[in-house]
Symmetry: C2
């Protein structure tokens, strides 16, 4: 089945918020063999909404609309949808009681008048009851097409997708099926990787497509097979996965759809190894990434974010003399930070970062983007300097990836 | 001027990556009075690309295309664009030499053969030279419309927008002008806020639009004025900002377009106050958010991410007896963590979090989503428990916002 997402609201178009909903929805649709063909972000005007619905329904069977269901006046989605479907809005008593209940539970005596309209639903819709918020979802089936209208608040949208939309979808049959397989590689660029496996790619049949998904320091390969027999697709794809892995084996981190941080948590846990971080320029971003993985507590003891020099000394045992002679952004400091984190937090491995993320703080000798990274392991401590030269967020992101890469290399070497 | 963004590539449609490029571009276009009317994410097929270009050119004057310029076979953007413009591709010698140079500098003797095609450019395009990567950008002016083709890698895209596209745009005149004003509020829900300022909203003229941008624990108001005289728009909008601020004053955090973390960094720095965090369930996410703000080093000393109990004791001075009697997720522990962070990191304020982010680790007594937060200030330490009940990422995100909110309240009280 082909699907499209329409997101409604100026906040995405103005760059106020990043649309994280669509990626989350795409990941949830994949196991149902529902393939996203377009995401369209539009303004909350009646014309834009009606045009987007019309165009999406020409390309896809399932149209998921998020956003534009709030109580305030800038939300016109329901009125536009009523026009599109040539139907009306009716005030649902069960929904209205639920909305009133939410305000009562929050300690308000009276519900603001405008919230009455949150219980307005399309007359042709099945209500997707929203237990966790005031805006009800709606499900419309029309001319073989399905439309889901959901609030844009991520938590409410997620609740409705999992508890209302997926059960609806499970009842609908699809003709074609899609199978995805993944190979996560590191230490080899996109072009060199493509060169190395060019003949394997040539052998791919029409219905299996290979995509290169490069990230900083990594390339994820995705094989997408489309057909009508799930188990045949899986078998066919698996043969190509095996050929690619045997060709570029040492660069392969994983043959599942996981990120670098998940690989690390998994391998460290399997090996019974623990990790700590001592972060200056990355400000906790490495710890935050590692602890975003469920089960990270099995291998991650903790971190010290040592922004101030005093913190580097008191919390990590960096010597005052080192900071005075070489500065905070130096090989000596970062080595002491890594070794300090390892001993203070009692781990097998530790990562340390110290650099100038920018925009301020650069000097002629140590310009913005200069980052020292050290990794301390069971036997050795290794340090390296990087010159990233980008903006603050990119410098932090690159430092995080470089750190994980160095940790992975040392961990592999010491196993 | 009206603009649209087209992002090309399956990685967004598959949910592999979140499209952060579009929000970044939108923020860069705003000061040039360029208004984004649609973002369209499509697959890298020739048909989808040609359709998207055709439709976008009907609505907008500026079309920015990102992605689909890599060297591998799954990138067909340039061929599709050549068909759309009814032109051909030519191999540019200056670009080719640049691409070869990048491989030489990376220590490769020979460039992979497929990279030769990275120097292929549209015959009708002006080259947007890409100093920081192998894929050149392209600029096409046709029938009063402007098209920019840029690589999807965020770092390269950003370089080209700032150094190539914005200079091109600065040369183009626009008829209408847009002015945005912002009010960031906290501690009042969207509906109640709307109720409180309903009469002010009624008074808005046709050309000034008010949008409610709710986030967890906050609502950002945006007034967008469209007209042809920038200074008149600014004056008109300012009057409404002042009316709203005088109405809901105590809930106003800022009257600029900044986030909560930026408000905190600014106000703490102005007050000469310093901050530390002691994070268990948030895993460094608070430190990471605070340190994402340029200049945070003026008020942020550091953090301890204390995942393991040993780390809570050794790095923060939490008593073993407390952990044994009440557990890591308890008021007593979180209070000791906050006070420990304050004294160990020598700050005026500290935040501490301890909770069960999930999916594992919940018990009947302390289910997944149970989070204790403490804030220690100059005079008092306050603690509160929250029951979030969501998935791991949302529980972490809500804990972060709740922590900042509690810190802000205590900070206000103690000033």
């Amino acid at each position: 089945m082909k699907a499209e997402i329409i997101t409604i609201g100026d906040e995405i178009l103005n760059g106020q918020i990043v649309d994280t909903n669509s990626a989350w929805i795409a990941q949830r649709l994949a196991p149902l063999q529902i393939h996203l063909v377009q995401i369209t972000s539009i303004s909350d005007t009646k014309t834009a909404i009606i045009d987007a619905l019309t165009n999406a329904a020409e390309r896809a069977n399932l149209i998921i609309v998020t956003g534009g269901l709030g109580p305030t006046k800038d939300d016109v989605t329901k009125h536009a949808a009523a026009t599109y479907f040539n139907t009306t809005l009716i005030n649902d008593t069960k929904v209205l009681e639920h909305v009133r209940g939410i305000f009562r539970n929050a300690g308000f005596e009276e519900m603001p008048a405008m919230n009455v309209h949150q219980a307005d639903v399309l007359a042709n819709a099945k209500i997707l009851f929203n237990d966790v918020g005031t805006a009800p979802g709606m499900w419309v089936a029309k001319d073989g097409k399905f439309f889901a209208f959901l609030p844009g608040v991520p938590f409410e949208m997620k609740f409705l997708i999992e508890n209302r939309v997926i059960p609806e979808l499970s009842g609908i049959k699809s003709e074609t099926t899609v199978h995805n397989a993944y190979i996560l590689t590191t230490g080899i660029g996109e072009s060199h990787l493509a060169d190395r496996i060019a003949d394997i790619e040539e052998d791919l049949p029409e219905h299996i497509h290979l995509a290169y998904l490069p990230k900083i320091g990594m390339v994820k390969l995705r094989l997408t097979a489309v057909g009508n027999n799930q188990s045949i697709l899986e078998e066919e794809t698996q043969l190509f996965v095996e050929r690619i892995v045997s060709r570029v084996g040492k660069h392969v981190l994983a043959t599942e759809d996981i990120g670098f941080e998940e690989v690390l948590v998994k391998r460290f846990t399997e090996a019974g190894c623990t990790l700590a971080t001592a972060e200056s320029c990355t400000g906790g971003a490495i710890a935050s990434l590692i602890t975003s993985v469920p089960g990270a507590s099995a291998m991650f003891n903790g971190a010290v974010v040592a922004y101030a020099n005093a913190a580097k000394m008191h919390m990590l045992g960096v010597e005052e003399e080192t900071l005075k002679s070489f500065g905070a952004v130096s090989e000596s400091t970062v080595r002491q930070m890594a070794e300090g984190a390892k001993s203070h937090l009692g781990t097998d491995y530790a990562i340390a970062t110290s650099g100038i993320a920018g925009p301020g703080g650069g000097t002629a000798e140590k310009p913005v983007g200069t980052v020292w990274v050290a990794v301390a392991g069971r036997q050795a401590t290794e340090a390296r300097v990087f010159y990233f030269k980008n903006d603050r967020m990119v410098n932090i992101e690159r430092s995080v990836t470089a750190s994980l890469q160095m940790l992975w290399d040392l961990f592999q070497k010491e196993q």
